[in-house]
């Protein structure tokens, strides 16, 4: 479903990804790991088209991303849910509205928005924080709001960037359970993380990056 072929990405002086080739199957749940600064976030951003590769080709559902017209980018993104490492929550909107935004953008009506947002909030155990503003939440709570926003639109692909960096092991396990459930409904999931606990003994594929190179592909 997602194909990287000889993809490289350079920032000014920094090479973030070097000649990366791999593919993720439809319905797969895969992990990307590697040291801090090894290129995990960059890789996810390339799939989301929020960065463009300098070399190589990336395709999703056999569609090459560099042939996409600008007006097709939002449509691509609507198929993908992204758990941003830096959260990107809007501090001038409460938790409910932050999550609802992902649905409003898709033109979904108010009634459906309401039920789906509350469902997502229940999934991450934050139903009671719906009226709070992000800057009044704890770090872990914010992270769970971001996860709720990513899954509320029921995307066909879910990209999660360090989704458990700010939560305790119990909450972390809960989040992984949620991901597994979503995966079971056919959603393709890619999780970037440095937390080995997440993929230990899962039997899932783990791609390891080192300084921009794809150095190994193992099973967790």
């Amino acid at each position: 479903m997602i194909n990287f072929e000889n993809v490289s990405k350079h920032y000014d002086t920094q090479t973030a990804l070097r000649n990366i080739t791999f593919s993720i199957e439809k319905g797969e749940m895969a992990f990307i790991t590697g040291l801090s600064g090894s290129g995990k976030t960059t890789l996810l951003k390339l799939i989301y088209l929020s960065e463009k590769p300098d070399e190589g080709t990336i395709s999703i559902d056999s569609r090459e991303l560099n042939t996409l017209k600008e007006s097709e980018i939002p449509l691509l993104r609507r198929k993908i849910g992204f758990v941003f490492q830096d959260f990107r929550l809007l501090n001038n909107r409460n938790v409910f509205e932050n999550i609802a935004l992902a649905l409003r953008i898709r033109g979904i009506n108010d009634k459906d928005v309401k039920t789906r947002v509350f469902d997502a909030l229940k999934t991450v155990n934050l139903r009671h924080k719906a009226d709070y503003y992000p800057d009044t939440l704890s770090g872990g709570e914010q992270q769970r709001v971001v996860i709720a926003r990513a899954i509320v639109s029921e995307p066909t692909v879910l990209l999660a960037d360090e989704p458990t960096g700010n939560v305790d092991p119990d909450t972390s396990a809960g989040i992984m359970r949620t991901f597994k459930n979503i995966n079971a409904t056919g959603t393709t999931i890619i999780i970037a993380t440095h937390n080995r606990e997440l993929f230990r003994d899962t039997g899932r594929r783990v791609l390891k990056l080192d300084n921009g190179n794809l150095v190994s592909e193992e099973r967790g």
């Binding site: 989301y48 939002p74 992204f82 809007l90 001038n92 935004l101 953008i105």
Partner: protein, 290 residues
């Protein structure tokens, strides 16, 4: 989706009421000043446009010209570009007029045995010629004409009036230009600032998969709101000025009675504000790139 855009705009307007209020006030002030300037220029124009009609060029003819010679001069005059109309005034009529002018003291002229006044021709100049150099040249030229004794033309006074007119118009247009520019500037910078302030928000919208129209709509609505409110407020302002000037000041300062308020034009202010607001917003948002 359209209703959501309106809700977003309303949210932003309420949430950022402070900056919005400031912008509305600024736009209202600018529009008001522009409108007042337009009114001032318009009034000066109307006032000075009436003035020239009262002035004419007088041609005093030599004594005892024949009817044909007078006819001749009249025809020459009619051919002149700057001349609107000519009127022959025989000396008898002139004496009558002089007597009317001196009224109370007309015994001055009672002792006259013979009419000492000359025949004359009153020349009305075309409006646009009054006070110009063309008129001045014409008067010099006519003085040389056969059969003409003297030409009287209040050059200096008329020239001064024409100068004032040109001056007020020039300054007025300059002023209108400056103020119009400043309205656009305020609209533009307001939306730019609002847009700038929401940079992060817009970034997040884009990342979540919002289309360009979805992102733009609330800003356009907000710009329209600001512009329209500013326009309405300036209309209120001008009606207030109108009220004060016409109903209050004109009692004590009668000259204000002569002022003309084209009310219909004032009602153009809200739509002008609206258009400027939308235009400003559109320019400020500019091109959205993914």
């Amino acid at each position: 989706m359209a209703t959501f855009a309106f809700r977003l705009a309303l949210r932003s307007i309420l949430h950022e009421k402070w900056i919005n209020l400031l912008s509305i006030l600024a736009i209202a002030a600018s529009l008001l000043i522009t409108a007042l300037t337009v009114l001032s220029v318009y009034n000066v124009d109307v006032a000075t446009q009436k003035l020239p009609e009262r002035f004419s060029m007088m041609l005093y003819l030599k004594d005892k010209l024949s009817g044909g010679e007078v006819e001749n001069i009249m025809n020459t005059l009619k051919k002149e570009h700057a001349v609107e109309s000519v009127k022959y005034i025989p000396k008898d009529q002139a004496l009558k007029e002089l007597k009317t002018m001196l009224k109370g003291t007309d015994h001055v002229l009672e002792g006259l045995e013979e009419n000492p006044l000359p025949d004359s021709i009153e020349i009305k100049l075309k409006k646009e010629a009054v006070g110009t150099e063309t008129a001045q040249q014409l008067s010099t030229r006519l003085r040389e004409t056969k059969g003409v004794d003297d030409v009287e033309y209040g050059e200096k006074f008329l020239f001064a009036i024409s100068s004032i007119k040109t001056g007020v118009k020039t300054i007025g247009i300059l002023f209108i230009m400056i103020m119009s520019a400043s309205v656009i500037f305020v609209c533009y910078s307001t939306v730019k600032i609002l847009f700038y302030r929401k940079k992060e928000e817009i970034e997040t919208y884009k990342l979540l998969g919002a289309t360009k129209g979805f992102i733009r709509a609330p800003f356009i609505i907000e710009g329209a709101f600001i512009g329209l409110s500013g326009g309405l407020l300036s209309l209120l302002g001008i009606l207030l000025v109108y009220y004060i000037v016409i109903f209050r000041l004109s009692h004590t300062i009668p000259i204000f009675n002569a002022l003309i308020f084209p009310a219909n034009i004032s009602f153009l202010l809200p739509p002008i504000g609206l258009s400027l607001g939308i235009a400003g917003a559109a320019i400020a948002i500019g091109r959205i790139r993914y």
